[in-house]
Amino acid sequence: MAISGDPLNLIICGVGGQGNILISGLIGNALMKKGYHVTIGETFGASQRGGAVFSTLRMSTKKSYGPLIPQGKAHLILGLEPLETLRMLQRYGNPGVVCVTNTHPVLTIGALSQKEKYPSCNELKGAIEKLSKLACFVDATSIALKLGAPIVVNIIMVGALIGSGQLALERVDVENEMRNIFPPERMKLNLRALEMGIGRKA
């Protein structure tokens, strides 16, 4: 059953370079064509690659809301990276929030250089589970590597979001939007990625 709320506040988070902004637009356009008012805010600071990036998407049947989600008011978090999902829960989480997240880490620069510790996969999953009403975990990066294209993690996660049934969005809505943004030669791979994501619901 889809989660409810008006406005419904969706957060899409990840790391620079993971294609977070692309899928926010994809989801936003698909929702708008279904008749919702949609506003998306993007927070990416100075990051080209490697910094934390998140989009806030607010949908409503009544009006266009502002782009910022108040603290503790997320309904749904779509995470392309588990530490970023937890970071969003820290600020926007509440007992009713649903998370759909990739479990594969992108290590921080501090962790890579051994200056601090990146939490273990189990620590992250445990924390995300405790702070959500429902948490769907998907190892999207491994699926993407199997498809030979690490770049499609974002589309796999859109698939996982549809598969979770938490958002009023059908596969066909997303496929139609994908045709607007990907050149024909890239469609096959991305449709496959979407399908793999849908099948991987928790």
């Binding site: 490697g50 620069i109 890579l112």
Partner: protein, 638 residues
């Protein structure tokens, strides 16, 4: 950038704030657009450049914001509609021209000029969070601040008409949460611009005699104020006599709506949204001030509206009741950083003495106990394969070898990441575009006053053209012993790879003359060397040599293409790179992953040796040359 002109009138489209501004300009019949890139403003010209040839308008990336404004003004003087766009700091650069411009009219041929400035409250991607709205007052220009994406489009279109009517440039203030927000926009018609540029040479547009012209400008603004007093862009929602009146602008509007809704205060709080901010619509605001006794002003950065609300209350003191005015000065609204719904919620909760918790206490406690210990910062550093990482390693080595405590002056670009928390922190001083050269020029002049420290300035290729050249000429003229490092990566990389005068390409992808940095510097009389930053040995040696040379300014150009740009163009890795665990010093060395810090290098937890993360490594191979144990191997990929 997508083609926003393809979308037909009557379509309800999801547009980025900056795309909406571009669309509004097109719907107004803009014919000449110019800008220097800067986050969060860059997509305005990026979008217009994409459609320029289809529609038949002129779009350029200018060398800096002052020039962008000047060239766009020329179009206005010739009867066309011109637009100049920039970020907050860019408006500072253009300020000299802006304060002079409205002292003359902007022509009598029906032209118009709109300045769009995108402020960056919270400094998400800036080194300052200046509130540029004050420029409207300083320079006597009508100021408009849209509060959502639809309004950004509509107001842009309308502002051209205002500029044309009053023959003065108008100021549209955007900000990060508008420029970088997407929302639904109802699109209008784009006319086919057919007007020819003609300048009437019987006319003269000069600011002299200045004082009488200043007086004429003030009279003109009084007329603009009359229009603003009844502008439909300003609006009120709420009870007839609110217990509290929120007066807001820009991002303050959606944040106030959220706050009032969440606290359930719709019956008692009214919201007055102001869009036409200067000249301030005093009578319009006074009308609402008479209906309440408490006012909260919500706006981003400085108390600009707040100051004018207080001024309005004072000049209408006979009509209004004694007022409590809350805002920045009272401490209810943060005078720094961006406005958030939570900021307004807390202000209202304090005024109405309400208890507000964003979420229940038990959940908050869980967040503190479970999430907080795990969530580490995700610092930002250069991309894998970035030439700057190697350049800064050489800089560090050269300064140590030289041993005289060289002073390093940084600048604005990707290389600013040097001073971010995980960066190598070589820059001692860093401020704004071009100050790398300017301040280094001063440090290089201090030998006669006792300094024994070499001076090193840094700039990028785009920054060099933007603001470093006058400082370099100053260094030549006054014989400053500075060394300027020009980190040339063939692009304005940080803002999205926009071309610049050194790239041989224009905004609309035409080929053009390449302005050679080295030829220019040599012509000025500087000693110039060019090195590949990946040749760390040679770069370090050259830098040491230049620091010892006391014959005046020296320029070292470190030239290598931005890795993101290279990968985009070539789509392949030059090398396969791996670590030979037999040779690797592992935990007793740590140089590659702890000092050099390429994100593709880390320590294998099991073996303790360094490893290359295949999925991240772009195969630049520079790490093979920095490894003290010669344990990193690179093999050319054919």
């Amino acid at each position: 950038m997508r083609n926003i002109a393809e979308q037909e009138a009557g379509t309800y489209a999801l547009l980025l704030g900056n795309e909406a501004i571009a669309r509004g300009a097109l719907e107004a019949g803009v014919q000449f657009c110019a800008a220097y890139p800067g986050t969060p403003s860059s997509e305005i010209i990026g979008t217009l450049a994409t459609v320029a040839k289809d529609i038949g308008i002129y779009v350029e990336w200018s060398v800096n914001e002052k020039v962008a404004t000047e060239v766009a003004a020329a179009a206005a003087f010739s009867g066309l509609r011109g637009l100049a766009a920039m970020k907050n700091a860019g408006a500072d650069v253009a300020l000299d021209f802006l304060t002079h411009l409205n002292l003359t009219s902007i022509g009598d041929g029906g032209g118009a000029l709109l300045l769009v400035v995108c402020d960056d409250p919270q400094a998400h991607s800036s080194a300052e969070e200046v509130d540029t709205r004050w420029i409207a007052k300083i320079a006597n220009a009508p100021l408009l601040e849209p509060a959502d994406v639809q309004e950004a489009k509509d107001l842009t279109k309308w502002a051209f008409g205002l500029s044309e009517e009053f023959k003065c440039w108008c100021f549209l203030r955007s900000y990060t949460r508008l420029s970088h927000a997407h929302s639904g926009v109802m699109l209008g018609e784009i006319p086919q611009p057919e007007k020819k540029a003609v300048f009437d040479t019987t006319k003269h547009y000069i600011p002299f005699p200045t004082t009488p012209k200043h007086a004429i400008l003030h009279e003109k603004l009084l007329k603009v104020q009359e229009i603003f007093e009844s502008s439909p862009f300003n609006s009120y929602t709420g009870p007839e006599q609110p217990e509290l009146l929120i007066i807001c602008s820009g991002s303050g509007w959606p944040c106030s709506l959220d706050a009032v809704e969440i606290l359930g205060l719709r019956e008692s709080v009214g919201i007055l949204k102001l869009v036409t901010l200067w000249p301030f619509p005093q009578r319009f605001v006074a009308k609402y001030l008479t209906r309440t006794t408490r006012v909260l002003v919500v706006e981003e950065v400085d108390p600009f509206v707040e100051a004018h609300v207080k001024e309005t209350a004072a000049s209408h003191s006979a009509e209004v009741l004694p007022l409590e005015i809350y805002g920045k000065n009272s401490g209810h609204i943060n005078p720094v950083g961006e406005i958030t719904p939570d900021g307004v919620i807390h202000a209202l909760a304090e005024i109405f003495k309400l208890e507000y918790q964003a979420r229940e206490a038990s959940y908050e406690q869980m967040v503190q106990d479970i999430a907080k210990p795990l969530v580490i910062d995700r610092g930002m550093l250069w991309c894998p394969g970035c030439p700057h990482r190697a350049s800064f390693l050489s800089l560090r080595k050269a300064i140590r070898r030289d041993g005289r405590k060289a002073v390093v002056v940084g600048d604005i670009g990707c290389y600013t990441l040097d001073i971010f928390p995980y960066g190598p922190q070589q820059s001692n001083v860093l401020h704004c575009m071009g100050s790398g050269a300017g301040e280094a020029c001063g440090f290089g002049q201090l030998a006669s006053l006792g300094s024994e420290q070499p001076a090193i300035g840094i700039c990028g290729d785009s920054t060099f053209f933007h603001a470093s050249i006058p400082a370099l000429i100053n260094a030549v003229y006054n014989k400053s012993n500075m060394t300027l490092l020009v980190l040339d990566n063939y692009a304005t990389a940080m803002t999205g790879f926009q071309p610049h005068p050194g790239t041989g390409r224009t905004a609309t992808q035409d080929t053009t003359t390449v302005v050679s940095i080295e030829n220019l510097c040599r012509a000025l009389g500087c000693k110039v060397e060019v090195r590949d930053p990946f040749d760390i040995k040679e770069t370090t040696a050259t830098l040491c040599e230049l620091m010892r040379d006391e014959s005046g300014p020296k320029v070292l150009i470190l030239r290598r293409k931005c890795e993101l740009l290279r990968m985009r163009q070539e789509r392949k890795r030059p090398y396969r790179v791996w670590v030979d665990p037999e040779k690797c010093g592992g935990g007793k060395c740590v140089f590659c992953y702890k000092v050099f810090q390429c994100p593709a290098l880390s320590q294998n937890k099991e073996t303790g040796k360094a490893q290359v993360l295949e999925e991240i490594c772009p195969g630049c191979g520079v790490c093979a040359d920095i490894c003290p144990y010669k344990a990193i191997v690179k093999e050319e990929i054919r």
